[in-house]
């Protein structure tokens, strides 16, 4: 299990690849991942940049608790969470979640649960900068 909070751009597939290469080959039958990326539009406005604030000590602790809970609730072999903070540009990754297990349901269901939990509870806040100034994102959507 690993949790990383990064203040610069990262390549999610490279992280997944390198993280999975450290695992014993042949152990896992399933790897599920989710990558949240910054779009250049939101609520009909064009977004130029975004700044992600967080509560460092609580964020780290909360993400680690999420991973522990996921490993309790599903037979996961491993789990990776990476989250950006600071100034983010369109196309850059904001969050990466990876889950590895012997069979597919654990990896898929845990990945799904982790992104929902993270979105609703991990102490990060987005402020968007667009052509008319800047605004705090007031709440996360239901993902639809």
């Amino acid at each position: 299990m690993a949790t990383h909070i990064l203040d610069e751009d990262f390549q999610p597939y490279q992280w997944l690849s390198e993280f999975s290469q450290q695992m014993p080959a042949g152990r896992d039958g399933a790897a599920a991942s989710f990558i949240g990326t910054m779009r250049d539009y939101n609520d009909d406005a064009t977004v130029r940049t975004m700044t992600l604030e967080h509560y460092p000590a609580m964020t780290q602790r909360y993400l680690e608790q999420l991973e522990k809970q996921a490993k309790t609730d599903w037979p996961l072999n491993d789990c990776l969470i990476v989250h950006r903070v600071g100034e983010v540009f369109p196309g850059e990754a904001i969050v990466l979640i990876g889950c590895w297990s012997a069979h597919r349901r654990a990896a898929l269901d845990a990945c799904n649960w982790l992104i929902e939990e993270l979105k609703y509870k991990a102490p990060f806040w987005k402020k968007e900068q667009n052509q008319s100034g800047e605004r705090w994102v007031e709440s996360n959507t239901d993902g639809l």
């Binding site: 949240g36 992600l52 604030e53 967080h54 509560y55 000590a57 609580m58 602790r61 909360y62 989250h83 904001i94 969050v95 992104i115 993270l118 979105k119 609703y120 509870k121 991990a122 102490p123 990060f124 806040w125 987005k126 402020k127 705090w136 994102v137 007031e138 709440s139 996360n140």
Partner: protein
């Protein structure tokens, strides 16, 4: 007695402060009132005591860290 208080994101901006210290309080509500000069707490206010989610009725003790923030929007 000393309680560290933190504010984040839009709440930090609207209150115009990111950190303060409260000398005497037994609940989160008292911490809020002392730290904000009894500002009306927003409806969707979230609070954490020592890095765990708590509520306005939660007890606080000497050395605690109390954080107030709006709904989270990460991920």
């Amino acid at each position: 007695m000393s309680i560290q208080v933190k504010f984040f994101a839009s709440l930090r901006e609207s209150l115009g402060q990111s950190e303060t210290t409260v000398e005497q309080a037994s609940t989160v509500t008292e911490v809020w009132d002392l730290a904000t000069q009894s500002a009306t707490p927003p409806n969707n206010l979230l609070v954490a005591v020592n890095l765990d989610y708590a509520n306005m009725q939660s007890q606080v003790n000497d050395g605690d860290e109390v954080a107030f923030f709006p709904p989270v929007t990460g991920g």
